[in-house]
Amino acid sequence: MNKTHLYVLALILAVAGLGLFLYKVLALNFPLAPGVESYTWNVEAKITFTANDEPAKVSLFIPRTSRRYAITNEAFVSRGYGLLTASEDDNRQATWSIRRAQGPQTLYYRAEVVRVSGREPVSPIPPPRPEEPGFEGAELAAAQELVTQIQRRSADNETMAAELLKRLNQPHPADNVALLLGRQNSEAAKLSLAVRVLALAGAPARVVHGIVLKEQKEKLPLVHWLEVYTQKYWQPVDPVTGGPNLPGNYLAWWRGPLSMARVTGGADLRVSMSSSRELEAAISTAVVRGQIKKPLLLRFSLLSLPIHSQQVYRILLMVPLGGFLLVILRNIIGISTFGTFMPVLMALAFRETQLLWGIVFFSSLVVLGLVIRFYLDRLKLLLVPRLAAVLIVVVILMALMSMVTNHLGLERGLSVALFPMVILTMTIERMSIVWEERGPYEAIKQGLGSLLAAALAYLVMHQRTVQHLFFVFPELLLVLLAATLLLGRYSGYRLLELLRFKVLLKEEP
């Protein structure tokens, strides 16, 4: 009765729906159109070793979700092995163990990682204690000399690290550096030396090991990096240039001096890394981003459901839209249909058959059903048994239709089985009554109206963009509800009514 009440309610619903929608689009970058793709990487570490016919244990460092990459999925492939994962300090470690193993063994770790934007502020971490440098004798003297040199030429930990790396990387290093390096000249050796020297200077530092993500099937090289604690957080330092930037696709795997994998009860341990790019709808990437930024908002998202349920909801969320379309068709345009929502259910069934075949099957089922219904009328059956009889006939017709079309090699015919048979039965019954009571003209008119409404509903409900919008932004249902409520108070003329009352205007002089 009170229109203001209705308007306020509709406004609240619309604002709530649109607000959430805009927030998800603008702030969380949810894609408006389907199929905007972004990169997800699959990384794999393959571990092989030869077991000694005794209890075997393999430990492997595994990556963790960082500010740069989120791990969306991981899997451990290891037949017969017990698995334990544990986090300590900044590392995660997986440990496989088995009571008895013999011969060559292969274990896999697989993860799906997604790049996330790490723009949000980082909470400061407490300064860690530098590790014990462990220099002795001549080494200690050389290291102390080096520290004095780099401290003199730097302002903070970061520049000190850069200064140190510059010295370590010189083609002809100074005497003290050469002494410390000895005969080892690998990058890993240089970095672990850098960590020790920096520790002596009182600057916490650590080595980061990781990979640069690219399309590579096997033997992806490990890339080592240095991290220095500056002021509040760990600052990466390029081990060659001393610059502060990481390569774009750098995925940190583990930190510290230990090697990536260790084995007891086996030998010949090898780890091979590979990574591949996966084109995935931007949507799941956006979800992952959202989970890292705002875990609460997305915890109740449809996207957190299992894939199978997601598929169901993709379709279910279209039903309200079909209902809304029928409100327009019936109350604004004035088309009459058999049963209020029968066309929506037909439109759902058309999903399987496609539009053209759907219309063909629907029409032929209704026509055949009507013929049989008129015959049943002569038998003077009671209402419910007659309805049941028509239902049985409809199912038989559906089965026959599937068999015939299958025989003809038309695969589409099989999907007729998904037609809502009870709805079909009621349609046939009502159509036959309208036929008798109001004549064939009215019956066919309503039949065609239903078919038109079903076809329109199908076309709207099966737009990929529309499906995507309602699935990703279910809050749009609130907007739809608001619009439906407003239409519920529409008291203007229906479009077809204008034609009906047109005769009155001709009477006007």
Binding site: L382, R494, V503, E507
Partner: protein, 315 residues
């Protein structure tokens, strides 16, 4: 298109959406619907109030009661079987006489008792009722309509539909069965509706599915200008139906019997809108006028006088 809508609005034409939103939904309390949707209850309401209705011979409420039919019908040559909760005049079977053991319908068909029973079963099963609920079948007096309508009527019984708003008759039409309507008086089935001058009870031009007509399509006789007898009594019955049901917006279906005079056939909480075409006038101007003077329209004579003063055809 918008111009068309605007011109119709100027004429005060009521559309379905407006009727539903602002009249039937707003003014007719849902709990009163059964009073008008169930013809049996309408009868039970009308009789104590002194409003004449066709005589009830019997009610079949469940299948086993069908065997009572011969007993009830023993003394009646003709009768009508109708669903208690039928809509749009559907499911009404008019038996005009008998042929030996069989029945003859108003349309001239012969029905065996089995066929008659089957019809009753269909009614009970809810074939003709709103929403398909199980229903009861009324067996009642067959109206012999007043001979004044004979020349503009094809089979069936002509009836008078009066729209009553807050107890004031605002528009009326005479519904004439045709061959196309199969003897039924419903416009959507093909009957002709003729507007009625509320002041005098004289018929105006008619409307059928084909458009506006001046002659009855089957008999060829002229429709406008027929003065309906006992118009005052018919209007009074319509106006009193408001007190009977409490429905603010109501369609009253009356019939004029040659022996019994005006009888109340049924009431309708969602009367159709074609009456506007038959009268070449919109309902909205009239309902607005009634709304404005509602305070002064308490008694039935007041309401009738108001209707006859304002809703007659201006000379």
């Amino acid at each position: 298109m918008f111009r068309l809508a605007k011109r119709l609005a100027e004429l005060g034409i009521m559309g379905i959406n407006r009727r539903n939103a602002e009249y039937t939904l707003a003014l007719n309390p849902r709990r009163s619907y059964p009073l008008v949707d169930d013809k049996l209850r309408t009868k039970e309401l009308a009789v104590p109030a002194g409003i004449p209705v066709p005589d009830l011979y019997g009610v079949v409420k469940s299948e086993y009661q069908v065997r009572h039919l011969p007993l009830w019908l023993k003394d009646h040559e003709d009768f009508v079987i109708k669903p208690a909760r039928g809509s749009g005049g559907e499911g009404i079977l008019v038996i005009a006489g008998r042929v030996q053991a069989n029945f003859r319908t108003a349309g001239g068909l012969v029905m065996t008792p089995e066929e008659l029973n089957h019809h009753v079963f269909n009614v009970l099963g809810g074939l003709y009722s709103l929403g398909g609920q199980t229903d009861a079948a009324l067996v009642e007096y067959r109206v012999r309509f007043d001979p004044v309508f004979h020349h503009i009527c094809y089979q069936g019984v002509p009836d008078i539909r009066i729209i009553v708003f807050w107890g004031v008759p605002v528009m009326a039409m005479l519904r004439l069965p045709t061959q196309a309507s199969g003897g039924k008086a419903n416009l959507h089935q093909g009957a002709v509706g003729a507007g009625i001058d509320l002041a005098t009870g004289a018929t105006l031009k008619g409307v059928s599915r084909q458009g506006i007509v001046s002659e009855h399509p089957d008999t060829g006789n002229r429709i406008p200008g027929l003065v309906i007898p006992q118009w005052e009594a018919l209007l009074t019955m319509a106006a009193r139906a408001y007190e009977l049901t409490g429905l603010g917006y109501l369609g009253v279906d009356l019939v004029l019997d040659q022996d019994l005079g005006p009888l109340l056939l049924e009431l309708n909480a969602r009367p159709g809108l074609a009456i506007q075409i038959a009268n070449a006038a919109g309902l909205l101007h009239r309902t607005t006028l009634v709304e404005q003077h509602r305070g002064a329209l308490a008694s039935v004579p007041d309401r009738l006088a108001f209707a006859r003063r304002h809703f007659g055809v201006k000379p």
